[in-house]
Point group: C2
Chain length 225, copies 2
């Protein structure tokens, strides 16, 4: 067995172990009636600003929200998100390039899940590795900022394929960077035909209400499920 085959084999086992914990988490989330949404993107695509706005809006709608946020180092994001008034916890991953289900389970050990309506999980900024790790979430959102270039869906197809909604962020900068929305939408539709898309600006507020509606609808799906 070569080193590469061994790695593939071990990686498969790690993913299998992760999937088992994720399944267990998913059942726990269902029992607690909390709708869990994860967010993945490149570093610096505006996940935290977007999430801060989302938490604030959902709280104004009377919903009980919380967030877990992953980073290699610092608790900057947790501090920013806590400004929304939501319950927030930072997961520091050290050198690990993604969150896994075990990290999520550990972080939630002392959390009163049944007192929450929505839990958001902001992954480490990485457009590749988080694609493979199920976190037990009901939906995964992939964010792409207008400054990153329209071709990212074609260049990082796995993560777009693994997501349920694409959010194009920083629309306030679209003109400054000559963002070609048609090309970006075409790219997303090529790798994940029919995926829903929101084009937002957390800074100006564009389409944030529409996103909050999407989240609320996702949450209410549980009562029907």
């Amino acid at each position: 067995m070569t080193a590469t085959t061994r790695i593939v084999e071990i990686r498969r086992n790690v993913l299998k172990a992760n999937d088992a914990i994720a399944r267990e988490l998913r059942e726990r989330f269902e029992r607690a009636c909390v709708c869990v949404v994860s967010m993945v993107s490149s570093p610096g695509s505006g996940k935290t600003a977007f999430l801060e706005k989302t938490l604030t809006m959902l709280r104004l709608r009377g919903l009980r929200v919380a967030a877990l946020v992953g980073d290699l180092a610092t608790d900057n994001d947790a501090a920013r998100l806590a400004r929304s008034g939501a319950l927030v916890k930072q997961i520091v991953t050290g050198t690990t390039c993604h969150l896994d289900a075990l990290m999520v389970r550990k972080a939630l050990e002392d959390w009163p899940l049944d007192e929450l309506d929505f839990l958001f999980i902001e992954n480490v900024g990485n457009l590749v590795c988080p694609a493979s790790y199920d976190l037990g979430e009901r939906a995964r959102i992939v964010l792409l900022s207008v400054t990153e270039g329209e071709d990212k869906p074609l260049k990082y197809p796995s993560i777009f394929k693994s997501a349920d909604l694409a959010v194009i962020t920083k629309m306030d900068l679209a003109e400054a960077v000559e963002f070609d929305a048609d090309a970006a939408l075409r790219g997303i539709d090529t790798v994940r035909p029919g995926m829903e898309i929101r084009m937002v600006s957390a800074k100006r507020g564009d389409n944030m209400a529409s996103f909050a509606d999407w989240v609320e609808k996702l949450g209410s799906a549980r009562s029907a499920g």
Copy 2:
């Protein structure tokens, strides 16, 4: 042995194997008198635009340049870089989140290295995983665009620690995103004290000549070495 210890063990072996190939590459590059520079950054931080401009400038200075460019999918970047007139090859990594020394060795199999002065290697857009993989390069450049936020060095310290030069890109957008240069410079200096930094705009040309000078100086270091 738990799955995690096994993974750590195997990962160590993979890195050891990578290091051996990287050492071999480094010797080959030295023998061929080609100066190899790698570039790492988040997806969409402007590596390709920056590299295209760099290749064009160095060619105008009479230098023989080439580039390898890594992506999970598409050969968009190779097509863009080829406009500079330089020799360019795309490495498509599939699901692998970084380049490794073996990929570089394979890509260079049929290349006349001794006819080159400089070879650039543009890594997959990922601010985490490429940090661990030596590619036999003489210097590694980490790029950070002003749109990503000033805190990235603190949040992704490993990759900044592994680099020899930091380049802050898209300075033409600094005002639009209210980029706090002092905070970014402080962050870089915290994780990698004394590292040289260039603040550039490939679009407007700011500081591109200064960067080309840095590259030339790096190349001439070999005759002294």
